[in-house]
């Protein structure tokens, strides 16, 4: 369980987060949505203390992370995976090395690393891409590698910062499917920040709407499931035609 208690964060003159409290239950897919600058990314980054709150407490499984320093904070972070809009893979490491580094950091037994990396890659459907470099992958594949990397240490939580915002519709669907799997099959609690309503609607069981650094409202929702997206150009034409007239040239 993740609980934020009256958290505040200011960047110089700008109050990014104003007195936010929220509770994210185990097993949920929790959405945070809002306009640009509403504070949703900052809020997410407060959860693993990538941003340190000025005041307030960040409790993960009952432990206040703001009270931890050095190695204890680093260990706490290992149970919270994170993925980013820009993927943030190490471009000079192969897919295998990108995932293995996360195991090295947590002193995962050397002999079992290879097996664990393979297992994670199989989960995201990229077991044949081990020796490739990120530059050789599509956006969706990169994000799946990032998910595999985040899962390597068997985290309880997965924080997703605009995970599909730089992807095309197909890749978006592909990544959302994997996230759904991560939650259903592995029981990982997921927090997704996104400005895309479709993304939030398809997965989330509870959604907080942010505005001006504050919680506007939190609602329970029924996940609609990930839309199947066709790979052919007709899909795009149909989507275009759906909400208005298309003047076929």
């Amino acid at each position: 369980m993740i609980q934020l208690h009256h958290v505040n964060k200011r960047f110089e003159q700008f109050e990014a987060i104003k007195d936010v409290s929220l509770t994210i239950d185990k097993g949920e897919i929790y959405g945070i949505i809002g306009a640009s600058g509403a504070g949703k990314s900052t809020l997410l980054r407060l959860i693993n203390l990538l941003e340190v709150p000025d005041t307030g407490a960040v409790e993960v499984n009952g432990r206040d992370l703001t009270k931890l320093r050095g190695k204890r904070l680093r260990d706490a972070r290992k149970s919270i995976g994170m993925i980013f809009q820009g993927f943030n893979l190490v471009a000079n490491k192969t897919v295998y090395e990108n995932i293995a580094v996360s195991l090295e950091l947590s002193n995962y037994p050397r002999k079992e690393r290879r097996g664990r990396v393979e297992e994670c890659l199989r989960f995201v459907g990229l077991e044949d891409f081990m020796k490739k470099y990120p530059a050789q992958l599509s956006g969706g594949q990169k994000q799946r590698v990032a998910i595999a990397r985040a899962l390597a240490n068997k985290p309880e939580f997965l924080l997703c910062d605009e995970p599909t915002s730089s992807l095309d519709p197909n890749s978006t669907a592909e990544v959302l499917k994997v996230l759904e799997d991560v939650n259903k099959r592995l029981g990982v609690t997921i927090v997704i920040v996104s400005h895309e309503m479709d993304v939030i609607k398809s997965l989330c069981t509870q959604v907080t709407v942010m505005a001006n650094g504050e919680v506007y409202e939190t609602v329970r929702t029924k996940p609609k499931g990930v839309k199947h997206i066709d790979n052919n150009p007709k899909y795009f034409v149909d989507q275009l035609a759906k909400d208005g007239e298309v003047d076929r040239a």
């Binding site: 290992k78 471009a91 000079n92």
Partner: protein
């Protein structure tokens, strides 16, 4: 081989040896000390992992001061310091002291610039995985910056060769000194030209090797 080269063969080999020692020590200083100093400059900068205004300003000022000296004046200025650590201010060994110092300042700046180009997000991902500062540096920062670090070192080495040519002023010897004393001052223009050719060949080899290695290790 041209007769004049045969005539001076022994001295030429000695001069090449001296240049190798001076440039070699500069490279060692650049890698062993310039790399950490450049990394600290980067890490202590505002918004970075070890943000520290005092440390950053101090290092930054120090590097700037060393780099502002016209090199010849730096050599003279450092004579007391050189005497302190080598025991003499004259000779090839003594010449390595100012060379090492300029090498550290020179390469640390290039290291800092290269590291600034590493996408911040990669380091953020590292921190989110629970990496310590040490792990961030060795498992992420240097891995991502490695081809830039090699290119920077290549550029630096070529500057070191250039710096080494004036070490004749403190009896450091080397190819540059040989070219001046024998080629220029004794009016053996031909000999001077051959020395320049040797330098050009060295620089070409270093530049080619450096760029090839940088390209091979760059997977971005």
């Amino acid at each position: 081989m041209p007769e004049i080269l045969v005539q001076y063969e022994a001295q030429i080999w000695q001069a090449i040896g001296e240049t190798f020692i001076m440039v070699g020590v500069s490279i060692l200083a650049a890698v062993l000390l310039g790399l950490p100093v450049g990394t600290l400059l980067y890490l202590c900068r505002k918004g970075n992992l070890l943000e520290n205004r005092v440390a950053f300003s101090t290092l930054n000022l120090l590097v700037n001061i060393i780099r502002s000296f016209p090199f010849l004046l730096l050599v003279v200025f450092l004579i007391p310091f050189t005497r302190l650590i080598i025991g003499t201010a004259i000779g090839t060994a003594a010449a390595t002291v100012p060379l090492a110092i300029i090498a550290i300042a020179h390469y640390s700046r290039l290291v800092e610039q290269t590291l600034l180009d590493v996408p911040k997000g990669v380091l953020e991902a590292a921190v989110s995985m629970g990496a310590s500062v040490r792990s961030v540096i060795f498992k992420f920062l240097y891995v991502e910056a490695r081809s830039g670090l090699v290119v920077g070192l290549t550029t630096s080495i070529i500057s070191f060769i250039s710096y080494s040519t004036i070490m004749g002023v403190v009896g450091g010897g080397g190819i540059g000194d040989f070219a001046i004393r024998f080629g220029y001052q004794q009016f053996k223009t031909e000999l001077m030209m051959y020395m320049i050719v040797i330098m050009v060949i060295f620089v070409q080899i270093i530049q080619f090797t450096g760029m090839t290695v940088a390209r091979m290790i760059d997977k971005r």
